[in-house]
Amino acid sequence: MINVFIAVLTAYFLLGTAIAYLSRRRGVKSSSDYFVAGYRLGGFLSAMTYAATTYSAFMMVGLVGLTYATGVGALGFELIYLLATLVLLVTIAPKAWVMAKERGWVSPSEMLSDLYSSRALGYLVAATYLVALLPYISAQLSGIAVVFEGVGLSYGLGVAVGTALLILWVALAGMWSVATTDAYQGLWMIFSAAALVTWLTFSFIPLKGVNLNDLTAALSNAGFLGLTSFWSFNTFLAYTLPWVFFAVTNPQVVVRVFIPKDGRAYKNMVSLFSIYGFIYTVVVVYVGLVSRGLTLLNLFENVANRDLVTPKLLLNMDATLASIIYVSIIAAATSTANSIVLAVASSFVRDIYEKAFSGKHSLKVANALVLTLSVAAAGIALLRTGFIVDLSVLTSVILLPLAPITILAWLNPNISRSKEARAAAIASVALGVAIALSAATYLGPRATFLSSWGGLPISLWVLITSTSITLIGFTLGKLRSVGKPS
């Protein structure tokens, strides 16, 4: 198994590196080329980088396990993300796409800094990205390392290989190499998932002497086709709320709205991403449900640690196919991690370095930041600190205060520049992040994710607080503009 895995991994690495290297021909001369590919990406690349960035190793490992453990509620949890993202991409994001080109936005913190005419907000948002996303990058590297352990290699080697991939595929051509390797990795991910479903349906299930009707009956009897006790309304709300706003809070996703080269590319991005997301989600949930059904029929072991469902399933598979799927998990983690590193680095280059200095050495600074962030994330992953992995769960909650300030500014870019809206945005982010981090300190990150205050999930309190403050600021700003003599 180890030899086959190394061979498949080497092939994946060589082909990906060749693609990243060839993407250099597009020319990277400025930080705009480096971070947003000069706003020149076509529809296919835009869609695939959107999909590969969004869908991390969580899908093949976490979502399969969540479905296995909690039933079909996991489908709703994942599909609401797709639905909400689609609505945002159709309603308000086209406006942001146009504004990004007109105003030359490269990083999402730069966008907010410009929309609110506030450098302080840009710094605050850049710092929030760092706090929220560094653990998330570490968790992706940790996911790669766990795959290495699963096939019998060392955890440290997994972190080293993941970090090397991350740095190399970003440093070669910035967004160009990230987008092209994302497309390659996105295809690897979807074809691997299709291969897994085909193997399950036409090989593994018949081999066990049952059919899909038997599995459906077993799942039905055990209540896995309805909402299990795990999915109380509060839990569903706590899980889905950060997901609903993911597309406007996570910088690696926000920046992908900036990059399509024209209207046609934008429309194709929306279409291809929505089709990809739908198929990938349904396929992954199917794998989780089939695995649970087989367990209920005593044909597959009962897996207590839900993150191990996919690895246990792959043990029954041919070594080559299993290796291809293991590598798809590495691809999902890498494509998410390198997009985050690029997005966080862009915030520091555009909001701090280029505003303080001439910007003459932007590309060197960008590469140095990519290296620093990747090595820091690797160091954290190597510590194997449970708290860091837990904190990555909270990433989307910490970033939640960015939702109202982003949406309202996209809708009302004139009012957002008022001093009332500006003050409110800063207070909104500061207070929202403080609530999330305080709760994480007192309750622990995982408990924060699921706990309720006054019957409402903490994530909802974060959102209510930030939205209320931002709305007050915008209302006051609007009232003042109405009262001004023309």
Partner: protein, 60 residues
């Protein structure tokens, strides 16, 4: 697309998202067959088709 079309799409989207939460918790909580699965996948698919139609008319 006219602004009334945008408002209609936005309002319908809010209704779809609310339905995504409320219908399963009101009527399909104890689903014993694939009804809940079919509801969530059909609603999402319907909105994917609608949204793609809208974005193709809207974005120039």
């Amino acid at each position: 697309m006219k602004s009334s079309g945008r408002t209609t799409y936005a309002l319908l989207s809010v209704i779809v998202i609310i339905a995504f939460y409320l219908i399963p918790y009101t009527y399909l909580r104890s689903s014993k067959d694939l009804t809940l699965t079919a509801f969530w996948t059909s609603l999402t698919l319907l909105w994917i088709i609608t949204s793609n139609y809208v974005v193709r008319r809207w974005v120039k």
